[in-house]
Amino acid sequence: MSEILIRALWVLGGVLFFLSVYIIANKALREMTERRVAWTRGELEPKILEYVNGKGERLGAALPPLGRADRRVVEDVLLDNGRFLKGNARDRITAACEDLGYVRDRMRQLKSSRWWRRAEAAEKLGTMKSPKAAAELIALMRDEMPEVRMRAARALGQLETRSSVKPLIGTLQDPNRWSALRIADILAGMGPEAADELVESFATLPAKARVAAVDCLGRVKSHRAAGLLIKLLSDPDRDIRARAAHSLGLIGDPNFTPDLQRALKDPAWPVRAMAAKALGKLGRPEAVAPLFDLLRDREWWVRINAAEGLRSMGDSGLAALVNAIDSEDRYARHAAVATLEGAGVLDQYVEKLVSADEKEREAALTLIRKIVAAERTDHLMQAASRHAQEKVREQLSRLLTPPEVKVQVKA
């Protein structure tokens, strides 16, 4: 037994020694490489930037012969600048990447057996923006790794070629939900062209991809998608109905008001909530009454969205909220008070308690009495003790005097 233990000790001791040396050597090597890269970058970057800013025809001619490590530094400098530059300077970066063989190298790397190398290549090809890579990137959208598919999609989005729209739409059904959303983002970034294609191929999309597609149509704000989106307000899938309502709100055409008003009666609460939010964005006065009714909805999100919708509609909406304070429905009262409080309207009325205008004073008194009756007085109590003007404090204290007030947190 002792023999075995001695051997085990030797092995463990060796492993420990190796581990410690490896940790130290790894750190030393990394720091040396970082210093060397920083030095090389300092040497080459000014020449690269001169080229990017228009000096000379070819970057290769301006640079000294490059070793493998130096080539990587040059590529990094080009890509770092390529991420935020536009116009002619951006085109010169693409030309340099093609000229120096980076596009070719990365296209070769797309066939690597290691997923992270394929993903890295796709990411860099996207930043290089070379149309030569489009076909390979489209093929990569069928890669088994979601990370790779994602990078390929983003690269295609960056290339902004018409040929990439269809393959991107095809991958909206990606099982990874985040990938699908990202692809929808990319499509939305491609503008009306992507929207038209989405409308055309919507019927052929699988169920999972449809929600992302509807969302994308809203963000593109394409009027040409309006017909489809209105139709989708009656889709059997409640998620699609909800996203369609949201997208119509994003497009923001007041003519959608009747359709969205109908959606306020949807049996699924997410649809009602989204329709309320969208109607708030459209801001048509005829939506005030149905939104007011929705303050009594049994779902908290719907009530809050209805109140927020009214708030964003301006004076008519705020007036409706004030009216809701003496509603018979306690949820409607609470939603109204909370929204008015959050919008700072309550504080404005408190100020008016000492206004020179009698009408304003009367309006403020009426509102505050309603709130007292609604038993949502915490905010007013605070104002009664902390307001800067003594007159306001006195007025409020009088109004809040029991027996009318019961300051309670509702269970």
Partner: protein
């Protein structure tokens, strides 16, 4: 008479010898099994860390930040007598790099000026926001909000303990995900973006995600941000740095891969609210509400036969203070171990029950054998060696070799954790810190580990005797200490 004759006929010396030898053999097998499990966990973690680091090269955090589809989050901060650092903590949380979120501070019956400081710092006003008691809690005295900081809400309630405060936060939260954060912790700027990603990828299945907890002692904190990272000067917190690295990087990652994660630190975890409400929220019957919640979630979801995920992500960082004195450490570890035992005693039906999958058949037996019984085996092992010495049956050469092997193996696991840190996140950039980490990884196994085993044995007896004491951590707050600031 019969008993006496039996008693006299037994060779007690021989029996004692056999018992000691038998127990020592058991300790040997126990040691081998435990370390094999640790080794397996380490190997699993190593592969996962490498995979994770490769994935983070292609992170989408900016897109998560900008996307409209990113889940909004309610951050819940229970605070009891936290006047010293609460304003700083809230400021740092409000600056987090994330789209839509709200910060809910729950003042749990503080006897100091926690509430007053918050009111002054953020110009809070009492509001009429509705408190829906979805989960039962102690009475809420008031809800405060600020017009200047619309996403800050402070709840003032009667004292009910941390679980109760968290439940009050859940009741008041608006968003479908909530993040529990300790009032004495600092969350890194991008931590929410990182911790929410698993929810973005698997929205239906994801139930809870835990982030890594790192030790802030020794670091410089300014305006609620960790601006300089270094190891503490004192030995006790450095031992804990090594211990945390091992626990998080090679422990939790491994369990997460095996889909058997039982702990998400209360200091920083993100949960789907609907699932937490479905299990009744946090439980105040145990001393470690975080562990209890995760075990309850597993039990509930397995019973429902729902496909779900509870995972650990190693790069969203929460910085927290650890005890610098032995007495405080004893209180903290006592509570942790008591909490483990309480949860175990409540969910023992899950043990070896195939209905609960890997949790019931692997994770819980591991916790019973190595976490609950481990400290006893270790302490009894030391006692039996002393006994064997006095009985003259101790093979000194074997004992020393065994001891050395045990220490070497412990050192190997600690250094391996340092390696995982060095190949992945490299939070300690200074050479001096790396050298100290390696040095303390060696010495942690001589003395510190044994001390923790003793703490756990004491906790076991406290559990049996139903003694419950939370213990004050004695936080110094995050204002940089003069010595640190001047360095």
């Amino acid at each position: 008479m019969i008993f006496l004759s039996i008693f006299l006929s037994v060779d007690w010396h021989e029996l004692l010898l056999k018992s000691v030898v038998g127990f020592n053999r058991y300790v040997l097998y126990y040691f081998l099994t435990l370390n094999t499990v640790y080794l397996v966990l380490f190997i699993v973690s190593l592969f996962e860390v490498v995979r994770f680091v490769r994935r983070t090269f292609f992170s989408d955090y900016q897109q998560i930040l900008k996307s409209e589809m990113t889940w909004p989050i309610s951050i819940i901060v229970p605070a009891h007598n936290e006047e010293r650092g609460i304003v700083e903590t809230v400021r740092s949380l409000l600056q987090l790099n994330y789209g839509e979120f709200e910060v809910l501070v729950v003042n749990d019956g503080s006897k100091d000026n926690t509430l007053e400081r918050l009111i002054r710092a953020f110009d809070l006003r009492k509001t009429d926001r509705i408190y829906r008691r979805t989960l039962p809690t102690a009475r809420v005295r008031g809800i405060y909000a600020s017009l200047e900081v619309p996403n800050l809400v402070v709840v003032d309630k009667e004292q009910g303990g941390k679980s109760d405060a968290l439940n009050a936060g859940i009741n008041l939260s608006r968003y479908p995900l909530f993040c529990s954060v300790d009032a004495d912790s600092v969350i890194e700027e991008n931590a929410l973006l990182r911790v929410v990603k698993p929810f973005m990828e698997h929205p239906e299945e994801m139930v809870a995600v835990g982030g890594i907890v790192r030790i802030v002692n020794g670091c410089e904190v300014r305006d609620g941000r960790v601006v300089r990272i270094s190891l503490p000067r004192k030995a006790l917190p450095v031992f804990q740095v090594v211990e945390y690295l091992r626990a998080f990087l090679s422990g939790r990652i491994g369990w997460s891969v095996l889909r058997s994660l039982l702990i998400i630190s209360g200091a920083f975890g993100l949960y789907k609210k609907s699932d937490v409400v479905a299990v009744g929220g946090y439980d105040s019957y145990t001393d470690t509400e975080d562990l209890e919640l995760v075990v309850k979630l597993h039990e509930h979801l397995k019973k429902q036969k729902t496909k779900y995920r509870i995972v650990f992500v190693p790069d969203p960082v929460c910085w927290t203070e650890v005890p610098e004195r032995f007495k405080t450490l004893l209180l903290q570890r006592n509570r942790w171990h008591r909490g483990l035992l309480q949860s175990f005693s409540r969910h023992w039906r899950m043990l070896l029950n195939p209905r609960y999958g890997v949790i019931g058949t692997v994770a819980l037996p591991y916790f019973l054998l190595f976490e609950v019984l481990g400290p006893f085996v270790e302490v009894l092992g030391y006692l039996s060696v002393i006994l064997a010495y006095f009985l003259g049956i101790l093979n000194m050469e074997f004992f020393l070799l065994f001891l050395l092997a045990a220490v070497f193996y412990g050192v190997f696991l600690s250094i391996a954790a340092v390696l995982l840190e060095e190949i992945s996140f490299r939070r300690y950039p200074a050479w001096e810190d790396l050298a100290r980490l390696i040095w303390y990884a060696v010495w942690e196994n001589v003395g510190f580990r044994q001390l923790l085993a003793l703490f756990k044995v004491k906790a076991f007896f406290d559990f049996i005797l139903r003694r419950r004491r939370w213990g004050e951590m004695g936080h110094r707050g995050f204002q940089p200490a003069p010595s640190t600031a001047s360095r």
